[in-house]
Amino acid sequence: MKLCDMTIHELAELLEAGEVSSKEITESVFERIDGVEESVGAYVTVLSDEALEQADAADERIAHARKCGDFSGISPLTGIPLALKDNICTKGIRTTCSSRMLEDFVPPYDATVVERLQGLGAVIVGKTNMDEFAMGSSTENSAFHITRNPWDLQRVPGGSSGGSAAAVAAGEAIGALGTDTGGSVRQPASFCGLVGMKPTHGRVSRYGVVAFSSSLDQVGPIAKDVRDCAIMLAAISGRDTRDASCSPEPVPDYSSSLKANIEGLTVGVPAEFRHSGLDSGIKELVDGAARMLEEAGARVVEVSLPHSEHAIAAYYLVSSAEASSNLARIDGIRYGYRAVDASDVQELIRRSRSEAFGPEVKRRIMLGTHALSSKHYEEYYLKAQKVRTLIIGDMNEAFKKCDCMICPTSPTVAFKVGEKPNDPVAVYLMDIYTTIVNLTGVPAVSVPCGALDGMPVGAQLIGRAFDEGTLLKIAHSLEKACAISDRRAPIAAMDGRRGK
């Protein structure tokens, strides 16, 4: 197996033992990028020179630690090549949100999550493609190019963090960060056979992450396995004085919580999520995953989320309203695209926005503006916020009976490029299992639980707020039970056979 196909924790051991250098790992990643990126299209910006410099610095850091016999300054992420979704600000490196609007935007500061990763000595490989401003679930809404699924190049990688998921699945990065507002980390992780987590709202700082919907957005890891996910989550979590909504709750050692077994824990199956619209193959796999958890010692019970049928409506109202407000700051004056030859300021703002935002972004801005307009505010935005309270009540009731819930991540496997339904409502309905998690703020993780017609299927585990530790422990147990031996996407395996 090539270095670029290994996990963070495997590589960290080799690095600490001095058997491999960060430079070798990083070169292996860039060799893979040279081999497959043209077919996959995971990146908007690749940072080869910067990454190799960071790899050298990491190697020096590790060599110094070895000389002093003190590895306390070394993290499992030191020297590990990671990718960042292109809505996470990187100082001096353009951050586009895959939009014409920000095509040339170069942030003057780093997001807190970037500072933390760099502080640990991680290597930043590049910025990944996404649905424009994170609005979409296929990465086909990128203004630049589409990204293809490394498991089947005819299919989408999911979205909106599709570039991050495709990069990790293809070995073009060892791990990646995405952002999740309604499933944008978990669904692409599910489509690409990876582990993807949306942490509790407030677990991870949002400072420097281009805001879509502030009460729903959260940065999350996309990783090859649960242990890697735990390592990345620990690295980015914790209080940040620059994001007042970021919680002071202490950050536990997530990796050590993986060791314990799950005996005595209770897993809930939400009755409402076993509806007839679900693909029977996916239903069987997720039912199978619940049985495996039972065999591993957990108790499985049925729970109910009676208001969940209203989650998607509430989600699209809240998220679009907040998006229309957040994107109102983009006016073509201080940064971003500016229309030429506008005769006055109002025309300049209107034309800059109309020329540079894509169709889905405009659609959400329109819906959000409608929901916030004085005539409709109570009927839509306020109503949706109240529905949100009812759904949180359902969630609290369910968690009296169980420690986590299990359901599919997505009702389908990755669909073919260009086969996304034209009807926006039909597309929004595909987020049925994921949006409820953002509305209620709780954490959830997608874990591979099998395959249908050669395409990966993810099971979603939903946990209590700030209890990522229990969630990862159960996820780890499910991962062991599923025992998926070769996680490599076909495109990575093909590259390996070519012996490049």
Partner: protein, 101 residues
């Protein structure tokens, strides 16, 4: 119940988007579809239910009011599409002669 063409045009105006005839028709169609779908929450009784603004709210966060380092003027202006010295430049707002002319 859909959204009328006039209403769609009004929303576009509020959102600072200029849509041509075809875009307006598409926006009216999309908006009507979405509004018809989200109207389902109207049937829920939410009397006495408080709205949720933040799902895992952190209580008020305060700090000492001290000046901390921030961006330099040059860094803050570096992404401006058009500027003049230390200022952002936009088309003139007042009638009459601009600074340059």
């Amino acid at each position: 119940m859909g959204v009328s063409k006039e209403e769609t045009a009004h929303i576009a105006e509020l959102a600072r988007l200029s849509l041509d005839e075809a875009e307006l028709a598409q926006a009216q169609y999309d908006l009507s579809e979405i509004v018809n779908y989200v109207n389902k929450i109207a049937s829920l009784n939410t009397d006495g239910v408080a709205p949720t603004v933040q799902p895992c709210a952190v209580p008020n966060v305060c700090r000492e009011d001290v000046v901390l380092p921030s961006l330099s003027r040059e860094e803050a202006l570096a992404n401006a599409p058009d500027r003049q010295g230390e200022f952002l430049r936009v088309p003139s707002i007042m009638e009459g002669k601009g600074v340059d002319e």
